[in-house]
């Protein structure tokens, strides 16, 4: 489903470059639920951004489905993001002046879906998230957990093959985090690949697989129960 080969990524700095990803090789299959962990500066968010076509890479190849994602134009990148990928952010990133329904329907607008169909599908998706009674509410009128449910509904509205979640529970209390993870597990159970960047071990433990990065390199990759807790390694400090 997702295949990275020798991915390298550097950021320009005054007087040189800062290598962030140093030769990442990674395969993620359809329907997997993967946690990416690592200390601050390990490159986990950059990796997620590369996977989400939000950021480019300098060296290597990236295949999404059967399509090579190297050297995509800005417009092609937007199209693939719209068709294959869904995003969930730590700070929800709902558009403040749009209602929950309008936020969820927005990705369909960029796919040029007719307004009536957009609204119908968005309402159905909100219903699946148990948020249909909040359809007309603005983000400011929703709780953190409700905002993240709306954000997940927005990520799912285009029927993506992959959901990329950057610290999806980072701004939530433990109860709400549990609810959100339950939703993501249900999403994954429907066959959608879910990739979560997190620094919380209990979140990672709810995934099938955990990948640990350190200094731009994958240092561990295995079933979630098998990857050693960062505190036990004594090497990494959570973000």
């Amino acid at each position: 489903m997702l295949a990275l080969r020798g991915i390298e990524k550097s950021y320009p700095l005054a007087g040189g470059t800062l290598p962030v990803l140093k030769g990442i090789d990674l395969n993620i299959d359809q329907g997997e639920m993967v946690a990416i962990m690592g200390s601050s500066g390990s490159g986990k968010s950059t990796l997620l951004n590369v996977l989400g076509l939000l950021d480019g890479f300098d060296v290597g190849s990236y295949t999404l489905g059967d399509v090579d994602m190297s050297g995509l134009s800005e417009k092609q990148g937007a199209r693939y993001r719209s068709r294959f990928l869904g995003f969930v952010f730590q700070s929800f990133n709902l558009i403040a002046f749009k209602t929950a329904l309008e936020n969820v329907a927005l990705p369909l607008f960029y796919q040029k879906v007719a307004r009536r169909e957009r609204q119908q599908r968005a309402m159905e998706m909100l219903g699946k998230m148990g948020m249909d009674d909040r359809a007309d509410h603005l983000p400011s009128e929703l709780s953190g957990g409700q905002k993240q449910r709306v954000a997940i509904a927005r990520a799912l509205i285009t029927s993506p093959r992959v959901i990329l979640a950057d610290e999806p529970t980072g701004a939530l209390d433990s109860t709400t985090s549990h609810e959100v993870m339950q939703v993501l597990r249900e999403v994954n159970a429907s066959g959608i690949t879910v990739i979560i960047v997190t620094h919380e071990a209990d979140i990672a433990a709810q995934c099938d697989r955990t990948i640990r990065l350190h200094d731009g390199v994958i240092i561990e990759d295995g079933r979630s129960g098998e990857v050693v807790e960062p505190t036990a390694r004594g090497a990494n400090t959570p973000d």
Binding site: L54, I95, L106, Q111
Partner: protein
């Protein structure tokens, strides 16, 4: 690009911060409003002066004499210089080659009577060319003929006001009126704009001199400069001025004893003034519009900066740079267009309200040049589009991840 969703988004954005939007709109609207009003006032001034000039042909020279203010060749000041028929004859036959001319003698506040009606009107003695020199539009009957002057006929041509005030419903042509008690026959009537135009009663100059003044004195002399350009008319003025000063022993620097006014020169001077005024209006208007455009650029820069994260989110959700660019530019254009249109409407409305109360000798019909104003509006909209385009281009160049990280 122009779908309902786009307009809803624009409406959301502009109403999200109503005070800021209103102030920006005000700066744009005020720019157009000031431009419209200033243009209207400029045109009003120009119309007023042109209307005033419209009383007289532009290619005329008006000669007046007065009292001397300087001693000259043994003569004391405060001496009355009086033009006479011989001056006119000499000047038109020997000094200059004028295609048309007329002496003019005026009696203010004369009593004009028709049957039981009477009133006070100025009576003016003139010569046959005068209607062309003064641009008198004849509405009925005829103008004064050379034969009327030769025979010193008691005929007159009356202004439109007399028709209303004395003749009421009666036919004026052929009717008899009394001018200071002397009976005259009305041979024509005219209609003319201006302060006194329609209250004048014109009679042959020779008749006036015979019947009323008992002398060959004339108050004024009007000379046509024909096809002469400004240089030619100036030469004519100098020749007439020089001759009168020589004949009447007037000091060359005495400005009050002999006054020769060249309409062509005065009109050219007013033209220069109006060119200056128009330029001034454009400069002020241009800077006002620039201020409005800067206001829009400022708000768009702030809006785009505030929405950087949102732009990142939209990109992550599949928005292309083009769709974001068009959204921001349409927003800038809409803001400019709506504010500008409101300013335009307010400006035109103000002029329409003010116009009836602002009629003056040198101010009339403060009209709006719609073509110029619409051009200004288009310029402003283009400026608005550019104002939105610059920050929008900067925003869409940011990669989605940079936009999402933006604080």
């Amino acid at each position: 690009m122009f779908n309902r969703e786009t307009w809803i988004e624009i409406a959301h954005t502009v109403t999200a911060n109503p005070l800021r939007t209103a102030l920006t709109g005000l700066s744009v609207g005020l720019g157009i409003f000031i431009l419209v009003v200033m243009q209207g006032l400029g045109f009003g001034l120009q119309n007023g002066v042109q209307q005033d000039f419209g009383d007289e042909a532009r290619n005329t020279v008006w000669v007046r004499t007065g009292t001397t203010t300087l001693p000259f060749r043994g003569r004391q000041p405060n001496r009355r210089v009086q033009m006479r028929n011989e001056d006119e004859q000499r000047i038109t036959e020997q000094v200059i080659d004028a295609p048309a001319w007329s002496g003019r003698r005026m009696m203010w506040g004369s009593t004009v009577g028709y049957q039981s009606e009477q009133g006070n009107y100025p009576i003016v003695g003139v010569e046959p060319d005068f209607d062309d020199l003064e641009l008198l539009p004849l509405m009925g009957g005829r103008w004064l003929h050379a034969d009327d002057l030769a025979k010193e006929s008691k005929v007159c041509v009356v202004g439109e006001n007399l028709l209303d005030e004395l003749f009421k419903q009666d036919e004026a042509i052929g009717a008899f009126v009394t001018l200071n008690g002397i009976t005259f026959r009305v041979v024509g009537h005219f209609s003319k704009n201006g302060r006194w135009g329609n209250s004048m009663v014109y009679i042959p100059l020779t008749t006036m001199q015979r019947v009323f003044t008992g002398s060959d004195e004339v108050d004024q002399m009007v000379l046509s400069t024909g096809d002469l350009d400004l240089e030619g008319s100036t030469a004519m003025v100098e020749a007439v001025d020089g001759d009168l000063r020589l004949r009447h022993s007037v000091h060359p620097d005495d400005q009050r004893a002999v006054r020769v006014r060249d309409n062509q020169e005065e009109y050219a001077m007013f033209e220069r003034i109006f060119t200056g005024i128009r330029l001034f209006i454009w400069i002020i208007g241009g800077f006002t519009l620039l201020a409005g455009a800067i206001g829009v650029a400022n708000i768009m820069a702030i809006v785009v900066k505030e929405r950087t994260v949102e732009i990142g989110v939209r990109k992550a959700l599949g928005a292309t740079s083009g769709s974001i660019l068009s959204l921001i530019v349409i927003e800038a254009i809409s803001l400019t267009l709506i504010s500008g249109a409101l300013g335009l409407i307010a400006g035109v409305a103000t002029l329409n309200v003010v116009a009836p109360y602002a009629q003056h000798d040198y101010f009339a019909n403060p009209e709006v040049n719609l073509r110029v104003t619409l051009t200004a509006l288009v310029v402003l909209v283009v400026a608005g589009a550019i104002s939105g385009l610059v920050p929008a281009l900067r925003a869409v160049r940011i990669r989605p991840i940079e936009a999402l990280r933006y604080e």
